[in-house]
Amino acid sequence: MMIRRLRRITPFQVILVTVFTALAAFMSLPIVFILNHAFKPTNELFLFPPRFFVQNPTGSNFEQLFLHATNATVPFSRYVFNSVVVVALTLISVIIVSTMAAYVLAKYQFHFKQLILSLITLSLMFAPETVGIPRYLIISGIHLNNTYLGHILPSLASPIAVFMLVGFISQIPGELLEAARIDGASHFGIFTKIVLPLAVPAIATISIFTFQGVWGDVETSTLFMQDETMRTLAFYVNSLLSGLQNSVAGQNIAAAAGLLMFIPNLIIFLLFQRKVLETMIHSGIK
């Protein structure tokens, strides 16, 4: 009876789906816009009346973006290279560091565990923006200015990642770890052979959030990098966009750059979308 009731399409559902589809379409307008805008030739960008959709798609905006940046003191490829290096290293390190921490926090009893857990929960509300000054002082104090470590290390302190992983790993059955221990596996062996593979959905999830955070982050580039060659793509795009409000020049480049910033996020999310919800189920604050 339950199934039949679910199968039947009620008027409520029909209304819901139509209204909701319109709403969803409206909400995703910025995304549709960014996709169209990036491919508009210059004359379409300033057309009056403005057109939402692109008429004659062209890749010239991207071409100009690359050329524009290549003529600058720091070539475009340098920003891309920096971003790729920073994102890749950060992702790998965050995964290793956070999973290791979450594994022992979720599965073992030891002194200070409760203190650490409540500190992590408390620091979920931590916003790096509020303590930009001390962070700057610390980074210059330990001489990480203008190094890749200056980009990477601050993101390693990721309470959200550890928090989600703890939630997920604690529902891995303890008997499994116990059995491995009886079979003679070391702590490190248990971690690499059992915990890491089983925690893959959660790892995928934190990868998405870490990726989004690091890929779009301009703070480390602005505060910790004084050398232009060490700054990331997000910073470059951001600087292209500032001052754009009242000018005509650069609109096309900015449109292409905006899309370039968005696409990697989208790809990563589409790859892992299912895993995200699977993980979030276990990551409430009880």
């Binding site: 789906v17 909701f20 969803a24 379409a25 909400m27 995703s28 995304i31 816009f33 960014i34 300033f46 009056f48 403005p50 560091v97 921490a101 594994y103 073992y108 030891f110 500190l119 408390l122 620091s123 979920l124 509300m125 931590f126 916003a127 790096p128 923006e129 509020t130 303590v131 930009g132 000054i133 001390p134 002082l137 610390i138 302190a157 989004q212 779009g216 997000a234 795009v237 951001n238 966009l241 500032s242 409000q245 009242n246 609109q251 900015a254 449109a255 905006g258 910033m261 968005f262 996020n265 989208l266 999310f269 979308q273 919800l277 699977e278 979030m280 189920i281 990551s283 409430g284 604050i285």
Partner: protein
């Protein structure tokens, strides 16, 4: 006699019991040493980039420091100045942030739940597309989206909003949305709401999946007659952990918002301080005027506010009282 001896005995017994406890404590630490080893990398980064900065900000808040000269302790002067003399803070930053946070915070939170709930009512096959539609703007990130907002709210007739409103005949002349003080904050709020369906939204979607379906059946037998009652008596209580997580995320993103005004106007300080939020105020004093002590005092206030907002969220959704 007895009374003379017994204190000595108890003293030796307490010191030996303290030593015993201490030894046991060390034995425990040694036994669990691998736990600490596993935690070490995270804890080190956590301390260096989160705990110490917060402590430093708290300390700097009591000093006058320009980043070059020496620190000078001035007690509560920064805080007193903040609440008695800083006219920009009191008349612009504070009210702006208050209004902004009140609408974007609870408003965005309720909207996120509403949309998550509606998505959950849809057939399972098509849910992913809707999730993507709502989540995509927040995923695109502020930097990428400023392209969109700048074009949409452009001040001339080519701007999409102006063009639409002119076309409908609702306005006579194009409005300079991003430069006129009376519109800027509103635009900021709309834009922030648009991108507020982020981690918290996904957590709510996941939370909705955890609700035991049998509860709805049981609720119907117990006399729940409409969906609204269902939401209040079954859905919401069942997903409290995710609601709390989501609330915490919303508080953080709302209070740390500030770059949005800079991205929209292209100016670090918005015209007539119209879009001036507390974070902009901190940036102004820290990185433009280099009054690091004073800026730290403001960030301490902001951290305190977010702490109390979080306490409030725990009161609402938490199952156990902590923190």
């Amino acid at each position: 006699m007895n009374t003379e001896i017994s204190p000595g005995i108890t003293r030796t017994s307490t010191t030996s019991s303290i030593r015993l406890k201490w030894n046991r404590f060390w034995a425990d630490i040694r036994r669990d040493s691998f736990c600490y080893l596993f935690l070490a990398p995270f804890l080190i980064c956590f301390s260096v980039f989160i705990v110490i900065p917060v402590v430093m900000a708290a300390t700097l808040g009591f000093t006058s420091y320009d980043g070059f000269g020496s620190l000078r302790f001035i007690g509560f002067d920064n805080y007193i100045a903040l609440f008695t003399q800083d006219i920009i803070f009191l008349t612009k930053a504070l009210p702006n942030t208050f209004l902004f946070a009140l609408i974007v915070g609870p408003g965005g939170y309720v909207l996120a739940f509403l949309f998550a709930w509606l998505i959950h009512q849809l057939p399972i096959r098509i849910r992913d597309y809707y999730t993507l539609a709502f989540y995509a703007p927040s995923m695109a990130g502020a930097v990428a989206l400023s392209v969109v907002w700048i074009a949409a709210f452009s001040g001339d007739r080519v701007g999409y909003l102006n063009n639409f409103l002119l076309g409908m005949g609702w306005i006579d002349a194009p409005i300079v949305w991003l430069q006129q003080p009376e519109y800027l904050l509103k635009v900021m709020i709309i834009v922030s709401l648009w991108i507020s369906f982020s981690v918290g939204f996904l957590a709510m979607l996941a939370g909705l999946q955890t609700v035991n379906r049998e509860l709805y059946e049981a609720g119907r037998i117990d006399g729940i007659s409409n969906r609204l009652q269902e939401v209040f008596y079954i859905t919401l209580p069942s997903m409290k952990p995710q609601l709390l997580f989501s609330a915490v995320m919303t508080i953080v993103t709302t209070l740390k918002a500030g770059s949005i005004s800079t991205q929209l106007t292209g100016l670090p300080i918005t015209p007539q301080y119209a879009g001036h939020l507390v974070i902009n105020h901190i940036d102004d004093y820290a990185f433009i005027r280099f009054e690091l002590g004073y800026a730290s005092a403001i960030s301490v206030m902001l951290l305190l506010v977010s702490y109390f907002a979080m306490r409030f969220a725990y009161r609402l959704f938490g199952s156990k009282e902590e923190l």
